[in-house]
């Protein structure tokens, strides 16, 4: 039903999978948090080659650390900062880390319920 194939992967496999795509000539289209599944966040990273695209999808626990792919795909840093700002996902080793100040929101991580943030 969607444009492109969705590959479910484990969180640990992300850098390796991204590198594989990079070496096959894929470009980064976007990275986002799609939704909550129970406690977990579902992340989708989309890559494209020509007119086709591939989506890597993984589940992330709110406390998990996600490895940045900004050393593989340079433009990833903007998307990663965005996820960090809006959803409060921990991403390590971003090439240019704004530490939650890309959007400079008054209300931090607006997509997370406030009772959860305090815990």
């Amino acid at each position: 039903m969607t444009d492109g194939e969705i590959r479910e992967i484990e969180l640990e496999a992300l850098p390796a999978e991204a590198l594989k795509l990079k070496n096959s000539g894929y470009r980064l289209i976007q990275m986002c948090v799609n939704r909550r599944i129970g406690q977990d966040f579902q992340l989708t990273y989309s890559f494209g080659i020509g007119l086709d695209c591939v989506h890597l999808r993984m589940l992330v626990h709110p406390e998990d650390e996600v490895m940045s792919i900004s050393s593989i795909y340079e433009p990833a840093f903007l998307y990663e900062n965005e996820m960090q700002d809006l959803f409060g996902i921990h991403i390590s080793m971003i090439s240019l880390d704004y530490h939650g100040n890309l959007y400079r929101l008054d209300k931090k991580t607006p997509y997370r319920p406030s009772e959860e943030k305090e815990s």
Binding site: Y103, R104, L105, D106, K107, P110
Partner: protein
């Protein structure tokens, strides 16, 4: 010399969708031509008499808007262009919108519309020009009273 002969306007995009901004700019183009009222678009707040703001106010642009307003010389008129600048409009319920421009500045003239039509914007500018004279008059009278 009346200030309304040649008031300068400054446009700032609050958090609008671009629609009203483009219409404000379109007003300075030959077709609608607010310049026939002596209005010139400027980028420097210290030159400006009329502040046109489009879009609502959020946490990030609040200090910017306040600073621009404080840099403008008196008398000055604030025109809120478009429904988002009036009260937040379609984005009122968004988490990052505090509300219309009047949450931080005293707004003199509200121009409705989504996007505000050029005719409505021109109407707002004409009203602003008239208001400038009035404000200037009150300022002078206040000064006289102080002097006595």
């Amino acid at each position: 010399m009346k200030v309304s002969k040649s008031p300068w306007m400054l446009h700032y995009d609050g958090s609008s969708c671009n629609g009203c901004d483009i219409e404000v700019l379109a007003c300075t183009m030959p077709r609608f031509d607010v310049e026939r009222f002596g209005v010139i678009n400027t980028g420097n707040p210290k030159h400006a008499d009329i502040l046109m703001i489009t879009g609502g106010i959020n946490a990030q642009n609040r200090p910017v808007v306040e600073q621009i307003y404080s840099q403008m010389p008196s008398p000055k008129v604030v025109v809120a262009v478009g429904i988002c600048a009036c009260n937040g409009g379609v984005f009122k319920d968004c988490y990052n919108i505090l509300g219309g421009v009047d949450t931080v500045l005293p707004v003199d003239i509200y121009v409705p519309g989504c996007a505000a039509r050029p005719e409505a914007i021109i109407d707002g500018v004409v009203k602003a020009v008239a208001l400038l004279d009035e404000k200037r008059k009150t300022m002078r009278e206040d000064k006289k009273e102080e002097g006595q």
